[in-house]
């Protein structure tokens, strides 16, 4: 296998004059030249050489024997691949972030290749030649536009087809076909009725008010009465239908939006943590609330409005042509201008309003920020500066508002004028026709009335594409979340594991939240059932990350993690989670009673069971002493409880959960000696007989652990029992000394 990218013919001819890709391991392009400008250079690895070719044919040619090692240095906004040759570093190629992943993989491969050839030269044939494969992540680009897609989704927002989104949206209407039909019928009838009143001036004028032929007064009055009644009925009927339609549409739109929102939220719940890490929670909340509600707005307000406008437009045009087609053609002369102008004006205005919204949002955020930090502001006497900053933001809003309103005030009258041109033309041309007796005065009246109704829909229709784009973007953003598959997926051949012994093995595990920046590097560890492992190291050494992997909140990038000899990715997630318990440093208690919190993972637990667990966690006594006992409501984030109490509730929760594998992220919060002892007791009971991984800060916990793993920069630096490691006087010894020092300082402070 090899990693070969689309090679330009020029480079290819140079490499293999006979064609084909035999003997090539890697052919990849860098998107920067070595002088740091944008351009392509090619890196080629063959069996025995590394070559770099620039666009000008210039480059490097290094025999592999000369290379000691290769490193991919990550720089700001990109990186560089360098090789150590003859005791100096030689830069091979430079690249931007877009190519970083490919080059860090290649660096790894090159090092393996160099190592392999060195072994080979020594005569050893045990090792297999290293391999490099095409990047599977490359598949996550849109096949059409090569855009990098969000992980786990195949939907390319750029290549998305409007009709597909509409089609998918229409799918949500399926359960409500009858309601939809009902609404359509109401709309048709309503539009029809609305077309009647403007027609009535024609007979009113020609037969009642200024009759063209002689008619008797009584008959004229009867006709007048009839016409006025028709007017009344048509208007009333139109309004009644409007009411019915509005009510039906309100239900339908809200209902659809509810369906979509519910589906979206329940889908979100099952997405892996990785999804939430990569996004701001605010952006996700926006998807759930804003995007669905803007869809709701589109469905309730816009769709029916558009439908009515289109129907009205068609209806009016039909009636006008029927009455007098020559005049109609004249009327439509300004129509294209109206469409083009309103489109241009509309875009311009929308942009300006967006700007206004943006600045206003910033102003609001600023106020929120500085008022919640008012203590700090006062403490540092920065009131004046804050006020100045507000005034600056406010001025931005003022300018944006002024610009938008000013543009609106200018453009709208112009548009209005162009629109009214049609009516003016009709008065002149129609008037002449009336004088010459071609048209009755009534027809002219009706014509002008219809005309005023015509330009409304026309103006609106010119903005329809913008409106459509906006609603479809919302829809698409919702669909995108729905189409996101969890990174941590249930394997197709997942095996149920109702019983777990608790053996945990890590084999060369490498993982980074950002795939090319590993946090845990090549870690191997074998943990026997019931063993307690203490994880020690600086913050950032990879302790929490290791634990996240054991819980399978994330999947390893390389290597394997086995539980009872089964790859963790092949175990049913439900079974796994049921057997793993966590007591986290940041004890999160939900809003609810203490009872609900302890029984969170096992809601079916009996009250006695809960009390037994609480007792074992040394929590029972303080709970019962509370006026509401187990029914005490824990405030937001457990504010009503002290830190020590919260921890013990979390321990009780874990005891009740009864996991085979336990994760303990010990809190550093200082509690009084008695509470400390109680917590230690509770932890000791909890840990008994379970495979435990403890991120330990307290020396006492470390002493209880069977073995300690000292992590440094994502690798295991030391491994052994507490006493062994102390005797070794290495990294662990140093950490302990530091801690002793710290506690001495604290003792003095007290």
């Amino acid at each position: 296998m090899a990693l070969i990218e689309q090679i330009p013919t020029r480079v290819h001819e140079h490499l293999c004059p006979n064609g084909g890709t035999d003997g090539l391991h890697v052919v990849i392009y860098a998107d920067l030249t070595r002088t740091g400008r944008f351009g392509q250079e090619w890196l080629v690895v063959t069996d025995d050489r590394v070559r770099v070719m620039g666009a000008d044919g210039q480059g490097l040619d290094l025999p592999l024997e000369q290379i000691v090692s290769v490193s991919a240095d990550s720089l700001v906004g990109g990186g560089a691949l360098s090789a150590a040759v003859d005791g100096r570093m030689v830069e091979l190629v430079r690249y931007t972030n877009a190519r970083e992943r490919t080059f860090s993989r290649t660096a790894k491969f090159l090092n393996e290749l160099v190592e392999y050839r060195r072994e080979l030269a020594k005569g050893s044939t045990e090792k297999k030649p290293p391999e490099i494969h095409a990047d599977e992540e490359e598949d996550n680009r849109c096949p059409r536009c090569k855009l990098l897609l969000a992980e786990g989704t195949k939907v390319c927002p750029a290549c998305l087809r409007k009709h597909k989104v509409i089609g998918r949206l229409a799918g949500y209407f399926k359960p409500y076909v009858w309601q939809l039909m009902y609404v359509s019928v109401l709309m048709l009838a309503g539009t029809g009725l609305n077309l009647i009143p403007p027609y009535l001036p024609r007979p009113l004028m020609d037969q009642v008010l200024v009759p063209t032929e002689a008619a008797e007064a009584g008959q004229r009055i009867r006709l007048l009465g009839f016409l006025v009644l028709a007017m009344l009925l048509a208007r009333a009927g139109h309004q009644v239908l409007g009411i019915l339609q509005g009510r039906a549409v309100a239900w339908l739109g809200a209902r659809l939006s509810h369906d979509l929102r519910t589906e979206l939220y329940s889908h979100l719940q099952f997405l892996s943590l990785g999804y939430f890490d990569r996004r701001k929670i605010g952006a996700i909340v926006a998807r759930v609330t804003q995007d669905t509600s803007s869809l709701e707005h589109a469905l309730i307000d816009m769709v029916p409005y558009v439908a009515v406008q289109v129907l009205t437009l068609i209806g009016i045009c039909a009636v006008l042509f029927w009455m007098n087609w020559q005049l109609t053609v004249l009327v439509l002369v300004p129509a294209p201008a109206v469409v083009v102008l309103s489109r241009a004006f509309g875009r311009r205005l929308m942009r300006l309003w967006h700007r206004f919204f943006h600045y206003r949002q910033r102003l609001n955020a600023g106020v929120n920020d500085s008022l919640s930090g008012i203590r700090v502001i006062k403490a540092f006497a920065q009131e004046r500066k804050e006020a100045g900053r507000f005034s600056e933001h406010s001025r931005e809003v003022f300018e944006a508002t002024y610009l938008a309103e000013r543009t609106w005030a200018t453009l709208f009258p112009i548009l209005w004028f162009v629109t009214s041109l049609g009516a003016i033309i009709v008065w002149y041309v129609g008037g002449k026709q009336v004088i010459s007796g071609l048209v009755t005065p009534g027809t002219l009246m009706a014509f002008v009335t219809y005309l005023t109704m015509l330009y409304g829909p026309l103006q609106f229709l010119s903005r329809i594409s913008d409106w459509l784009a906006r609603s479809l973007t919302s829809a698409q953003q919702v669909f995108e979340v729905l189409d996101t598959q969890p990174d941590v997926r249930e394997a197709a051949d997942a095996v149920p594991m109702p019983r777990i012994e608790g053996r945990v093995e890590l084999r060369n595990v490498t993982f980074g939240y950002d795939k090319h920046k590993p946090v845990v590097k090549d870690v191997s560890l074998d943990v026997a059932p019931g063993e307690m492992i203490g994880l020690v190291g600086h913050s950032g050494a990879g302790k929490s990350t290791a634990i996240n992997l054991i819980c399978r909140l994330y999947d390893v990038n390389e290597g394997q993690l086995l539980i009872d000899g089964v790859d963790i990715r092949r175990i049913h997630q439900q079974d796994l989670r049921r057997r793993i318990g966590v007591v986290l440093q940041d004890t999160f208690l939900f809003n609810g009673t203490i009872l609900e919190n302890i029984a969170y993972a096992k809601p079916e637990a009996g009250l006695e069971e809960v009390m037994i667990a609480a007792k074992a966690a040394n929590a029972h006594d303080f709970i019962v002493s509370k006026p509401d006992g187990y029914d005490s409501v824990v405030g937001e984030r457990g504010q009503m409880l002290s830190g020590g109490e919260r921890q013990r509730i979390a321990i009780a929760r874990a005891i009740l959960h009864d996991p085979r594998i336990l994760i303990l992220d010990e809190a550093t919060s200082s509690v009084d000696a008695d509470t400390e002892r109680q917590i230690q007791e509770a932890i000791a009971r909890l840990v008994k007989g379970r495979t435990t991984f403890a991120i330990a800060h307290r020396l006492s916990t470390l002493r209880n652990a069977d073995r300690l793993v000292v992590l440094k920069d994502g690798r295991i630096a030391e491994l052994g029992t507490h006493d062994e490691l102390l005797a070794k006087k290495g990294e662990f010894h140093r950490l302990v000394e530091i801690q002793k020092e710290m506690s001495r300082i604290k003792a003095v402070e007290r």
């Binding site: 920067l32 740091g36 400008r37 944008f38 351009g39 240095d73 990550s74 720089l75 700001v76 906004g77 990109g78 560089a80 360098s82 040759v85 100096r88 570093m89 030689v90 830069e91 430079r94 931007t96 972030n97 877009a98 855009l147 990098l148 927002p157 750029a158 998305l160 701001k280 952006a283 942009r351 700007r355 943006h358 784009a469 479809l472 973007t473 698409q476 953003q477 920046k517 600086h538 950032g540 140093r734 530091i738 020092e741 710290m742």
Partner: protein
């Protein structure tokens, strides 16, 4: 190497006993003191891709890194010079005071490390469905890139200045919006 948090800066207690050569200006380095290097004492030299630093006539570092302390607001001042173990040798307050050859090498090194192209001209912009395709001319040549979700990926670090982040995480700088030609301004404005 990637910049993990300045490991040496905050937690001095954990630092192992001094195992590096002394610099001329700090005979006994105090963990809490910022070492300001005297530019006149510094000599930079190139060895392959690496930069060698000699301080005074006493000590020499084989491969130093030069980092900007304020990459956005003060890119040409306050450079942190670090050794292979990412320990800070000291800060150069004004690299303009280095000797000519050293200054050029430092600039080269900064140009290599900080790949933030400066947009000189916007050639074409195409937007569909919240994804914007840019074709721009930068100080490093012409380039095309794609941005998504501009509300988050276009920031204004100071008035008039814009920073764009594309889908790959590359950044593009517009130091002064009003300094662009009016066509570029218009194209940019249309998507702000």
């Amino acid at each position: 190497m990637s910049q993990t948090t300045a490991a040496g800066a905050g937690r001095k207690v954990e630092r192992p006993p001094v195992d590096r050569p002394m610099t001329a200006s700090d005979a006994k380095p105090d963990a809490a003191t910022l070492t300001i290097l005297d530019p006149k004492e510094l000599r930079f030299a190139r060895a392959g891709v690496e930069l060698r630093l000699t301080v005074g006539d006493r000590c020499s570092y084989p491969a130093v890194k030069v980092l900007r302390a304020f990459p956005l607001s003060q890119p040409q001042r306050h450079l942190s010079v670090r050794d292979t173990g990412n320990r800070e040798i000291g800060v150069i307050a004004d690299p303009g005071k280095l000797d000519e050859a050293s200054r050029r090498l430092v600039e080269e090194e900064l140009d290599r490390r900080y790949l933030v192209p400066v947009i000189r001209r916007v050639i074409a912009v195409k937007e569909w469905f919240g994804t914007v395709d840019w074709q721009v001319e930068t100080d490093r040549g012409e380039v095309r890139f794609t941005t998504r979700n501009l509300r988050e990926n276009l920031v204004q670090p100071s008035p008039g200045r814009l920073l764009l982040t594309d889908v790959e995480g590359n950044r593009y700088d517009v130091p002064q919006f009003s300094a662009l030609d009016s066509r570029s301004q218009g194209l940019l404005m249309g998507h702000l």
